[in-house]
Structures are given as C-alpha cells and as structure tokens.
Symmetry: C2
Subunit: 181 residues, 2 copies
Amino acid sequence: MEIVVLRLGHRLERDKRVTTHIGLVSRALGAQGLLLAAEDKGVERSITRVAKRWGGEFFVKTGVRWRDELRNWQKAGGKVCHLTMYGANLHEVIDEIREAAEDVRTPILVVVGAEKVPFEVYETADWNIAIGNQPHSEIAALAIFLDHLQRGQELTARFEHAELEIVPSRRGKEVVVKEEE
Amino acid sequence: MEIVVLRLGHRLERDKRVTTHIGLVSRALGAQGLLLAAEDKGVERSITRVAKRWGGEFFVKTGVRWRDELRNWQKAGGKVCHLTMYGANLHEVIDEIREAAEDVRTPILVVVGAEKVPFEVYETADWNIAIGNQPHSEIAALAIFLDHLQRGQELTARFEHAELEIVPSRRGKEVVVKEEE
C-alpha cells in the first residue's frame, strides 16, 4: 500500500512538536513519506534522525505547494483522503478507501490540516473523513486512520537496516543495538 | 467501560499543547477523565472549555501524585495499562485487557508518559503495552489503544447536552448549534 502524508498549515515554532509527531506517526504506522507545506528544516532533521536510527525508508519533503501536490496526485491516478472532524464517519467510508488503496495503481495521499484548512481542500479531496466528529487531535486522527486502513498490520511491521530495535517485553526495556554491516 | 487517563511527566509550557491533545483525545475517544501529575490550570481550562461546548461528562484533575493514584487504583480493584514503546505488542495483550475492562468492577487507568518514565511505573503496571515498537507519539498511542479497547465503537458515540454538534458530511462543514434548555 502506498501512503504519503501531506501536512498543511504548519506554523514555525508553534507547530514544531505537533508536526514532528505527525511525521513520526506517519513513519511508524506505515506511510512512506511526509510532505510539509512549509519550510522547516528543524522538523525535517528531527524526523530523518529517527528514521535513520530506527530503520526503514522514509522521506520528508518541505516547502511543497499543497495545491500542486493535490492536483498532481490525482492526475497520476492517486486518491486524496482529507482528515477533518466535519467529514464522513470513518466507519462509513473506510471499506471503499481500503479497496482503492489495495490496488497498487492507487497511491493514497492523507491530508492533515491545522486550524484553518482552505475550503478547496474539502472540495478537491476524494474523501473527507472524520475520526469521530469531536474536536481532538490531528495526530490521533492520523494514527487511527492509518491503523484502520491497514487493519492493524502496521503495528507488527519490521523496519530494515535499523541501528536500534526493541524486543517487545511485558516488563522493562530491551533494546538491540545493531552493528553496521 | 470505565476508563481514566493519567498523564505523567508534563512540563509547563513545553508540553502544553501535547497534554491538551491528550486530554481532548481522552474525552473524544471514550475516557471519563484525565488525571495530570502536574499543576497546569491553562491546560485544564482548555480541555474543560471544549468539554462544556461539545457535551458529555469529562473531568480534569491536576496536581495528582502518580504513585498514590496507581496504588489506590489497584487497591480498588482497577487495572493499570502503561503505554510504552518497550511494551508487549498491542495485538498480544488487547484481548486480555478488553476482557478485564468489560467487567464493570474493573476500571482501567491508562498511563501516558513523557520522555522519562520512572521504572516503578513499568513494575507496577498490570500491562506495559506498545502501540508498535517504534518511536512516535504518546497522543497517537493513546488514540489507537482507546480505539482497540472499545473496538472502534467510541467513534460513533453521542455526547449529551452539547451546545455544538457536527452532522457528518462527505463534503463541507455542517454544525448544529443547540439552544440552552
């Protein structure tokens, strides 16, 4: 499944941690990359540093123009999923989205906004999806969406070429540090 | 199902937004309250303001002592679930936790830490649970945990006495503003 996350409305300083969380959640829960509609090299560094140590392939691209990204994504046959508390309930739409996403020719762009999202995003998106219709957190919404889209399988995925790997444990902390090959 | 969230390691200013997200996620995804092991009236106000407008019952209690809370919770027959990337994989343990939680005599305390969590928490918890063994976000971990615990049913819950209610919509924004009764 090809999944990329587009983060809109990132404000320098104020959104640093929230956008870093969005990047780390994207990577940990099976997306291949993050597009950030702002320039913030600090956020990019934080995420790529984690990706290098913990393995797998994950890209971060900053300074993208969201309108171009949406248009090009759809032109190439991909689908756009916009997460918003005003959208259709996840349970209503997840089956159609998953069906689309299971076709390798249909990459999924997940759009995660901040406070004000331009109405054009609502109109352009193939799906506007609410992870519950209550105000909470774009980080939480992204996590639950990725988890439902992949039926929870992302939680046991292995990451290639990791320097660090955790051994799951009911009590305590166990980390394997790997030698460079 | 009785669920309360305990937030550890909150640092003033730095964690304001992340802890507010944790409170809002707790409320939106079916928990009854948030215990905060720090004094932060700003965070408390932000969360209770949302709870008042969007309905339901949700409490926030600041300045709690985590050691006392864990001890009293377990003494009263409740179970403690600590979310940590070092823990057992969610899929391995969620069935036993749900079984415990479905008994009304077993309230669930979900512990969400920040960077450094005292080892005593790992030892005291009934379960240490990893939402994937990768670094990402305590907000995301909490969201996925609450969602799996309640089998996604929390996403369609109604909130009583709301001033505002969203009508789910595939395109656009529809909000119902209710008169005071």
